[in-house]
Assembly symmetry: C2
Homo-oligomer: 240 residues x 2
């Protein structure tokens, strides 16, 4: 068990937040298990009730713990995303019993820079849509996404369509897209301060960066970079 | 382009390391592309040759850049691990043209704790092997791995076997294991100081935590937790 350093400049409640996160990480408390009561935590760590409450409140805000009325405080399960078949954030959230929504932060037509051109397999400076969105599960921000789409394939695409319908539904119904496959690349990254702000999380917690390219036959019709909260998702794959 | 803050307490060379990493991250310099020369970097960032050299040396040590004699300094490609079929570190490194090796840091028989028991699907306190290894590609430490194996299935397993042969080869030849499948879970995590020391990397760079359980028919015969350097690997999956 870690311990609290009362001489540290780091606030006590924050030290407790980190200790509890480490205990969860190391399997001392498993998902859906009850953690010790506030009173017990006060005894274990020799902290005041106020400090313990502040730590628990912080962990609740981060969706790491949740209270069940009259039963105690429990470790919230991570959302497990199986990487096997083509999926959409919207469908996955519905499967998990969450209510998905998105907020379009910006919707622009821009010129493809070097990286975007490479990913969409087009020339540098080709016109592309750039759509930046925050994706929510219930009312919690979960992912920050930047999507690039070839302009010529989605001419006429409007911000309001993207605001009001799942993007892939718009592709299918308005543009007759038939997805052939997608490729995703996963990498752990530092959460930048502005991303942490938008995602209402702690910048000390790394995020998963997921880059997706989506194919229609052999043509690439989407390049999306997602920054997903590292404390909320895990990615699962079955190897045969 | 970011800039150098000469009033910051952070060393100048380290600021340049971070700027170059950000430029690579954002696609300003792509994999296998040449970055500006030392002289050009001095001009761009208004830094001394000594500082620029120190930053480049640091990035070379981290395997992020490499020099090609007489040609310049290039962005090193990440090792791309495709998550589709059953793979071993040894085989993957060989495919990438690297020479894999391992160092066994510890080899013990211990009692399964709560998390290990849950993963191996056995009772708490069951006897298990705990094998801690560092995995190398050429001479660079790439992963820190803790493996748990049910004692009853691998009775007689010796440290020297694990030191001298690929683990899965030992399983197959000495214990007639036929793997049926494996499941992996990926999650971005903060690199702990001792892990960064062992992996000879910067603790500010997050790592990928990969948990694998391996099946023989329906029985789980391995639980491995890998901490893989986030600056060296990316994980790729094809979604159909």
């Amino acid at each position: 068990m870690g311990s609290i350093d009362k001489t540290s400049r780091m606030p006590l409640y924050f030290q407790l937040v980190e200790l509890i996160m480490k205990d969860i990480e190391e399997g001392k408390y498993l998902e859906n298990e009850k953690i010790p009561s506030e009173r017990e935590l006060c005894d274990i760590y020799q902290l005041s009730r106020v400090t313990v409450r502040q730590a628990i409140a912080e962990l609740e805000k981060m969706n790491i713990l949740h209270k069940e009325h009259g039963r105690g405080t429990f470790v919230s399960p991570k959302m497990s995303q199986t990487l096997q078949k083509f999926y959409s954030f919207t469908d996955e959230m519905i499967k998990l019993g969450k209510s998905p929504s998105s907020k379009v932060l910006s919707f622009d037509i821009v010129k493809a820079n070097k990286k975007v051109a490479r990913k969409l397999n087009c020339a540098i400076d080709t016109k592309v849509f750039e759509i930046i969105r925050l994706r929510y599960a219930d009312d919690d921000a979960m992912m920050y996404e930047r999507t690039y789409l070839p302009y010529h394939r989605f001419e006429g695409l409007s911000k309001s369509a993207i605001e009001n319908y799942p993007m892939y539904d718009v592709f299918r119904t308005e543009y007759d897209v038939i997805f052939s496959k997608a490729e995703e690349t996963l990498k752990p990254v530092t959460t930048r301060d502005y991303e942490a702000d938008l995602l209402n999380t702690n910048p000390a917690i790394p995020s998963m960066k997921i880059e997706r390219i989506t194919f229609e036959d052999d043509a690439i019709i989407e390049y999306t970079i997602s920054i997903a909260r590292g404390d909320q998702f895990e990615y699962r794959v079955v190897l045969d």
